[in-house]
Symmetry: C2
Subunit: 208 residues, 2 copies
DNA sequence: TGTACATCAGTGAACGCGCGTTCACTGATGTAC
DNA sequence: TGTACATCAGTGAACGCGCGTTCACTGATGTAC
């Protein structure tokens, strides 16, 4: 038996509503405090209907990370149209998008930042995986724009990409807490930190 | 009326039991998922006795941060006996202690890292305040060991101290997740990152 | 075309359970005089 | 010294409430023939 595409679409709409509503509630009370009934109520479905979409809240949370989270952080690293114009060009583009995300979808960003270090190991692992795409893109940017040998400078490149990713996420968290008007200053600070990082890597002789 | 010091001590013992038990439970389920009855049960007191110590779980959480958390991160920055021996000596000492804390009190560290970016604003603010002591000590180390003018290089020093603090916390989080056997590698990576950071600051001319 | 059947998202009633909070009480200890 | 009173951490009973989960059902839609 096949399934009516309209029906499938309808179900998908409810599923998305559950995800969005969970993000909204998690932003104020924290994900682990949420219950199936609370999110069902907010999504305007009966508590029993929840089971048509997810087995429990943990499964919903993983779907949040896999679908919304993956697309979200993935959008930071899409290729940009403009030509590279400096040794931290790739990073600057990623940073600009990530910081823009603070105002575009603060609830999703809060969820990702919180659960990245939260109490649920499966969430931490899933978010780590999604963020490793970002880390990889930053690393690729360093490789391409610094014209280093990626084999010889493997460890320094990884160190720098790790550090840059960490500093990027911290800047996003600060932006979330301090409000949109601080974003330009946070971006400037972040770019200064990365510039220093790369200059240091060159000075130490690890990169050239 | 005065109060029997033995009685006060007894009450304090129960209060501490509530704090420790909360950390233990929060490590596996997340703080915001905990209830007054659950922690009271684990601390072997009646649920109603909880109110003799805290008005609610949020007050308990703040006490966790103020008392245990403050003493904990404060211990990272106590003056050490040995004489400074390099431009990142102060940081190296702090990093060593922070990473040692991973095995000494992983539950408290998890709580701090999680609630630093969690859903409760008062927790975030309180933890930020405690961590600013660490940030300040790292900055002082940079100032003293790099022999720069702290007035002229104020912004670069702040950038570097911010970045170093962020990278330190990330290393702690990684150590928590990946287990004690990865601590030496994480410490080495962290120290490389800070070395690069300082070399870059010098190269950029911000520090000298 | 009509008829019988399968699928499946959504539902309302009902369940047992643990929750936060209130209340009046106990019993040990300290204070007043 | 003895007696009356105050303080206060801890308690058990009780409350109303929301929770997660089960179950049998509805009704719309698709399939078989």
């Amino acid at each position: 038996l096949r399934v009516n595409p309209e029906k499938k679409e309808e179900k998908e709409r409810v599923t998305q509503a559950l995800l969005r509503v969970t993000l909204r509630l998690a932003a104020t009370h924290g994900f682990v405090s949420l219950g199936l009934r609370e999110v069902s109520r907010a999504a305007d479905i009966a508590p029993t209907s929840f089971y048509r979409h997810f087995a429990d809240m943990e499964e919903l949370g993983l779907a949040l990370i896999e679908e919304l989270g993956g697309r979200f952080v993935g959008s930071w690293t899409e290729p940009d149209g403009a030509a590279p114009a400096g040794p931290e060009r790739t990073f600057a583009v990623i940073a600009a998008r990530a910081l823009a995300a603070v105002s575009e979808d603060p609830e999703l960003l809060r969820f990702i930042l919180a659960e990245r270090v939260g109490a649920i190991p499966s969430f931490r692992a899933a978010i780590y995986e999604k963020l490793s795409v970002v880390r990889g893109a930053i690393r690729e940017g360093f490789v391409g724009e610094l014209a280093v040998d990626p084999v010889k400078a493997r460890a320094p490149l990884s160190d720098a990409a790790d550090a840059a990713t960490t500093l990027l996420l911290e800047a996003c968290g600060q932006a979330l807490d301090r409000g949109g008007e601080h974003v330009p200053a946070l971006r400037e600070q972040l770019l200064r930190q990365i510039r220093v990082l790369l200059a240091g890597a060159a000075a130490v002789g690890a990169l050239s």
